[in-house]
């Protein structure tokens, strides 16, 4: 019996790998076709009928996995996200993204898909998700907000510097690389009662020299709790 189990398991490993290699070759063909300059300006899903053909053979779970993958070229995740929108519909994606119980990775993938839809009203949903207790869900929402990249998304990300299950260092990473200027959103945090929040605000404001000149930096040092820890008082001035 053990011989049978070993043989079956070994065969499964090899066959699944060969299938993987076959799919990878297909994908490389698509990538090659997409380098053609004549189709470069077309929307991702229209660049190659092959993408649509391949995605139509995949289950929702598989397409979601493609959308969520960070190890993957942006054009493909975008194409998959648009495919999700076309075939599943925005309401279905919203439902998956707001699911509270079970199917955690489907929720994570749906949140990442929402990050590709800039025109849709996805902010309240992402705002709720970034405050989720599960760090994987909250981090996915943070990634999606970074990808949305508008002012409303920045407001949500800045507000989570006050506390969320995503570590502040990760939020700060996204805010530091945010595509639009957000200095004015950070200035009010300099008066926050929590020293931690003021630290992050001052540190992030280092990029915005115009705000650094006008921001009430001294208020950080004057705050009672910070006076006990003078090393951190003027961290913003040096960053």
């Amino acid at each position: 019996m053990t011989l049978g189990v070993w043989l079956a398991a070994s065969l499964f490993v090899v066959v699944s790998r060969l299938l993987y290699d076959h799919r990878r070759r297909q994908l490389n063909d698509i990538a090659r076709k997409l380098t053609d300059p004549s189709v470069e300006n077309l929307p991702p899903l229209d660049r190659s009928p092959a993408i649509r053909r391949i995605l139509s053979r995949r289950t929702r779970r598989e397409v979601y996995r493609l959308v969520a993958s960070e190890q993957f070229p942006v054009w493909l995740t975008e194409a998959c996200a648009i495919y999700c929108l076309e075939y599943f519909g925005v309401e279905e994606i919203r439902r998956d993204a707001s699911a509270r119980h079970g199917r955690k990775w489907r929720r994570v993938a749906a949140l990442m898909a929402l990050g590709h839809f800039r025109g849709l009203e996805v902010h309240p949903l992402l705002d709720a998700a970034i405050r989720d207790e599960d760090p994987d869900v909250a981090t996915a929402a943070a990634q999606a907000l970074f990808r949305v990249g508008d002012r409303a998304a920045a407001v949500i990300l800045v507000s989570t510097l006050r506390g969320a299950s995503v570590p502040a260092s990760r939020i700060a990473t996204y805010l530091d690389q945010f595509p639009i200027p957000i200095g004015d959103l950070l200035v009010p945090l300099l008066r926050d009662p929590q020293p931690r929040t003021r630290y992050w605000a001052a540190s992030l404001l280092g990029r915005y020299t115009e705000h650094m000149r006008t921001a009430p930096i001294r208020t950080i040092g004057l705050h009672a709790s910070v006076e006990r820890n003078p090393d951190r008082s003027f961290v913003g001035q040096t960053s």
């Binding site: 019996m1 053990t2 011989l3 189990v5 070993w6 398991a9 070994s10 499964f12 490993v13 090899v14 699944s16 790998r17 060969l18 993987y20 290699d21 799919r23 990878r24 297909q26 994908l27 996995r65 493609l66 969520a68 993958s69 960070e70 190890q71 993957f72 070229p73 493909l76 990775w105 994570v108 993938a109 990442m112 760090p135 994987d136 981090t139 996915a140 990634q143 970074f146 570590p167 260092s169 990760r170 700060a172 990473t173 996204y174 530091d176 690389q177 540190s203």
Partner: protein
């Protein structure tokens, strides 16, 4: 053929019952571990898949790490090891190499490669160590500090590095190991998700006979050694990390943060009093100590093992060297289990006391003795003519393929996550599985018995195995990528980029 006596018959009966009971318990344990490891491995794969490493790689807010290398007579490997560590695609780190009174050209080799100059460095002296003779700084890379100290063993060297470390996280590594450029990035990204609870982490590493040439970032992925003993060791580690340690992580009883790559929170190391030189090896004892302390005090914490292949370390080429190394491993396991025997079976220590420690006691410490018992019983049964050969051969066949199943699943889980081995290497690994019992296990059994004997003799030597000989072409190493190049590139392993898409 000898005449069976009642005493021999009784011995055979006892040995048979013991062997079957042991094999049955082990099989049950392995099946349970597989049942935990498969979903846990799937979870880690998903987590790795959606992780935004690019953002972390380019961030100026990542948690800085102090990497500590303890080196004793490592002139052949130290420069490539430092090169791989300074080449980490991680935004902020320092590298502290502690030369533990080497008598070869270790320091000269580092000096030749990194242009050292005597300097000063701030030390906290939190843990007592042998005196530091000289502190060197590199003129070519300011992140590199070399401490030359009196010989005191690996634990003492690591403690010395801890005293000089500036950052909150410590990464203790071996000097004969070459790291993939994303080793720190991947481990720290996960640790950074839950820094309050994750106090230590380890990750899978492979065995290579010449790791300085086994480029862990190679486009074609890692390679096997085409050397039977080295490949068995490689599979052994893969099975251990991908199945057992992953399962223990899922059960919150990961009991060995490996010395080759261990991430620690510095405050936890200091609170525990530093690495202990009283044991033959420092890594497993420190992991046990942290578990014991945190469980006893009821504090939340996690020690995790990751499935990513982060490094290639030098493995013994000959059976003699392997026995020497594994005898030390057996000795330190016995020392640690004996020291922390109070945790065994105690509900107060949760899964550590009820699952982890019993595993180490029954399937690591006692395994060589029970294996020897079954060998002796087999010999006696043959001599008295009591062996039913067809039944025995059927049983042996079942056990041979049964012990290969965890290897097959480990290979399958690794491949599903990373798709980095060539198909032919994959097939080779799968076929090596059933050969493990007849070829590799007897060597380990002998090493285990020797380690047990050394433990009883209170032996404390390190038993460093003789370094593998290199060919003359080994002199010309390919230049490693600089940190700037690595931070610019999109991913360390392009072959892994498309995994998620086609899985």
């Amino acid at each position: 053929m000898i005449e069976p006596t009642p005493a021999l018959a009784m011995f055979l009966r006892v040995a048979l019952i013991t062997t079957f009971a042991y094999a049955g318990t082990l099989a049950l344990y392995v099946v349970s571990m597989l049942a935990v490891a498969i979903p846990e491995s799937r979870f880690r794969r998903r987590q790795d898949d959606v992780e935004d490493y690019e953002a972390v790689r380019g961030s100026r807010y990542t948690i800085p790490v102090s990497v500590i290398v303890a080196a004793f007579n490592e002139e052949g490997m130290i420069v490539p090891a430092i090169g791989s560590l300074l080449g980490q695609a991680y935004p902020e780190m320092e590298l502290i190499v502690v030369d533990d009174g080497s008598t070869d050209g270790t320091l000269a080799a580092i000096d030749a490669a990194y242009d050292l100059e005597p300097g000063e460095a701030f030390s906290r002296e939190n843990i007592a160590t042998k005196p530091v003779r000289t502190v060197y700084r590199s003129r070519t890379d300011p992140r590199l500090t070399v401490l030359v100290k009196a010989n005191g063993g690996k634990a003492d060297s690591l403690n010395c590095g801890v005293n000089f470390a500036r950052y909150r996280y410590l990464c203790t590594v071996d000097a004969d190991t070459i790291f993939a450029s994303d080793a720190l990035l991947k481990a720290m990204t996960l640790v950074g998700k839950d820094p309050e609870r994750i106090v230590a982490a380890s990750s899978l590493f492979g065995i290579s006979l010449t790791p300085e040439f086994a480029d862990a970032d190679a486009r074609e992925g890692p390679r096997l050694n085409n050397h039977l003993l080295a490949d068995f060791q490689h599979l052994d580690l893969m099975r251990s990390f991908v199945v057992y340690r992953t399962a223990w992580t899922g059960l919150s009883c990961m009991l060995c943060v490996s010395g080759a790559f261990g991430l620690w929170r510095r405050d936890v190391i200091l609170e525990a009093g530093g690495f202990s030189p009283a044991f033959s090896c420092e890594d497993i004892e420190m992991t046990f100590r942290i578990h014991e302390r945190f469980r006893r005090e009821g504090r939340p914490y996690r020690i995790i093992s990751l499935p990513n292949m982060v490094a290639q370390t030098e493995g013994p080429r000959s059976a003699r060297s392997l026995i020497s190394q594994r005898a030390r491993w057996q000795r330190v396991t016995l020392e640690t289990i004996w020291h922390y025997r109070s945790m065994l079976g105690r509900a107060r220590y949760g899964s550590v006391g009820l699952v982890g420690v019993p595993y180490y006691l029954f399937f690591e410490c006692l395994a060589p003795v029970l294996q020897l018992l079954s060998f002796v019983a087999l010999l006696v049964a043959v001599l008295v003519g009591a062996l039913a050969w067809p039944t025995y051969l059927a049983f042996l066949g079942a056990v041979t393929f049964g012990t290969a199943i965890p290897t097959t699943i480990a290979v399958g889980l690794h491949d599903a996550g990373f798709r980095d081995y060539r198909v032919r290497d994959l097939v080779r690994m799968l076929f090596l599985g059933p050969l493990d019992l007849p070829i590799y296990r007897p060597i380990l059994m002998y090493a285990g018995l020797r380690g047990t004997w050394e433990f009883l003799q209170k032996e404390r030597r390190w038993n460093k195995f003789e370094r593998n000989t290199r060919s003359s072409s080994a002199k010309s190493l390919p230049p490693r990528r600089t940190r700037q190049q690595l931070l610019r590139q999109p991913s360390a392993n392009p072959a892994s980029q498309t995994n998620a898409a086609v899985d």
